[in-house]
């Protein structure tokens, strides 16, 4: 049953990313040119709801298993986030899709996304191999 909930949430996510155009190469390009408020409004309103929701849940809500709500704290570092982030940002602006929208667009019939997905898997594999040699 809970498996089905994850699928339904995924479908909703896919629909939102497509219908609100966060999965469009053009919207990403426009955002990096500061020529529209659309993507900033999208992220800003997501954060407004997200911050209030997460803080409220952490203080006074329990999750479905009756446990206290916790978001795993991320490891303290600057290098990995900044350098890794720059790598990701370069790719994001180039193909106009972050990991979620890649799959949304594949479903939408943009079949060349398969090339991006396969090479992203390979990029992840390269990170796994080089992990211990990279500054974190």
């Amino acid at each position: 049953m809970r498996q089905l909930v994850f699928i339904v949430l995924g479908v909703l996510f896919g629909v939102v990313m497509y219908k609100a155009e966060a999965a469009s190469w053009f919207r990403i390009y426009e955002m990096f040119n500061f020529q529209s408020f659309h993507m900033y409004g999208f992220m800003g309103s997501a954060l407004a709801v997200g911050i209030v929701g997460v803080q409220w849940m952490k203080r006074s809500a329990k999750n479905v298993d009756g446990e206290r709500v916790a978001v795993a704290p991320k490891q303290k570092s600057i290098t990995r986030y900044l350098v890794g982030g720059i790598f990701f940002g370069l790719g994001w602006a180039l193909v106009g899709a972050c990991p979620g929208p890649m799959f949304v667009l594949l479903g939408a019939g943009v079949l060349p996304m398969l090339i991006v997905i396969v090479s992203a898997l390979f990029g992840t594999f390269i990170y796994g191999v080089l992990k211990d040699k990279l500054p974190h």
């Binding site: 219908k19 390009y29 409004g41 309103s45 997501a46 370069l90 972050c98 990029g123």
Partner: protein
């Protein structure tokens, strides 16, 4: 059809009018028009946040790029590399979410829109046309990149994928894990990552695009 007198004709037309009227109202009440149009940011953004909150409520976290690591593990990368040596079945829920997102893309195109074209700014369109992007303002994704699989386009997509796959894992997350989840939890590492995303994106669009296109 034989209609015996004038009164019945009026009745028939009234019935048709009435049906049309109900139809129009049902459409209005079901907000179908609203669904078919592009969704504004103030609908999309909060909905994504609610999806993240639902995942937290279910004891999970919103992070899409982890799926790449999981898929590497599924393919057996754990045999040669310890980073992928974990039980991928614990991440099954995220793979189901991924599966759903593919279905979501399909449903959006086939049932919830009629050739949706993002209404990007006229400034952006003019700028793209000067770079020979004729599909600007006419398609959802540029046909100049996704339309034909020329060698240069295939190369572009491969390079982009590699950067995203490597970068997200190095940074420990993508737009969902850092920009939405991490920032909602007010985590400093996520802010650094998002600043990185923007440095990379600005570098690509303003520094490298003039050389590529």
């Amino acid at each position: 059809m034989l209609i015996p007198n004038g009164a019945n004709v009026t009745k028939v037309t009234e019935e048709i009018k009435c049906t049309d009227y109900i139809c129009a109202n049902m459409k209005y009440f079901l907000h179908m028009e609203w669904i078919y149009n592009a969704w504004p940011w103030y609908v999309g953004g909060p909905l994504v946040a609610l999806i993240m909150l639902a995942l937290i409520y279910l004891g999970k976290s919103f992070g899409f790029s982890s799926n790449f690591r999981t898929m590497c593990a599924m393919a057996g990368a754990g045999k040669s590399c310890s980073f992928f040596d974990f039980d991928w079945r614990t991440q099954r829920w995220n793979l189901l979410f991924l599966l759903g997102s593919i279905v979501g893309g399909y449903v959006s195109v086939h049932y919830l829109s009629d050739n949706q074209v993002p209404a990007i700014s006229t400034e952006t369109i003019a700028q793209l046309k000067s770079m020979n992007f004729e599909s600007a303002g006419a398609t959802f994704v540029p046909t100049e990149i996704y339309g034909d699989m020329s060698l240069s386009n295939v190369l572009l997509l491969i390079v982009g994928g590699l950067l995203i796959g490597f970068g997200t894992r190095y940074a420990g997350g993508c737009t969902s894990g850092h920009a939405i989840s991490g920032l909602s939890d007010l985590q400093l590492p996520s802010l650094i990552a998002v600043i990185g995303f923007f440095i990379g994106g600005l570098l690509m669009v303003h520094g490298l695009f003039p050389l590529i296109f």
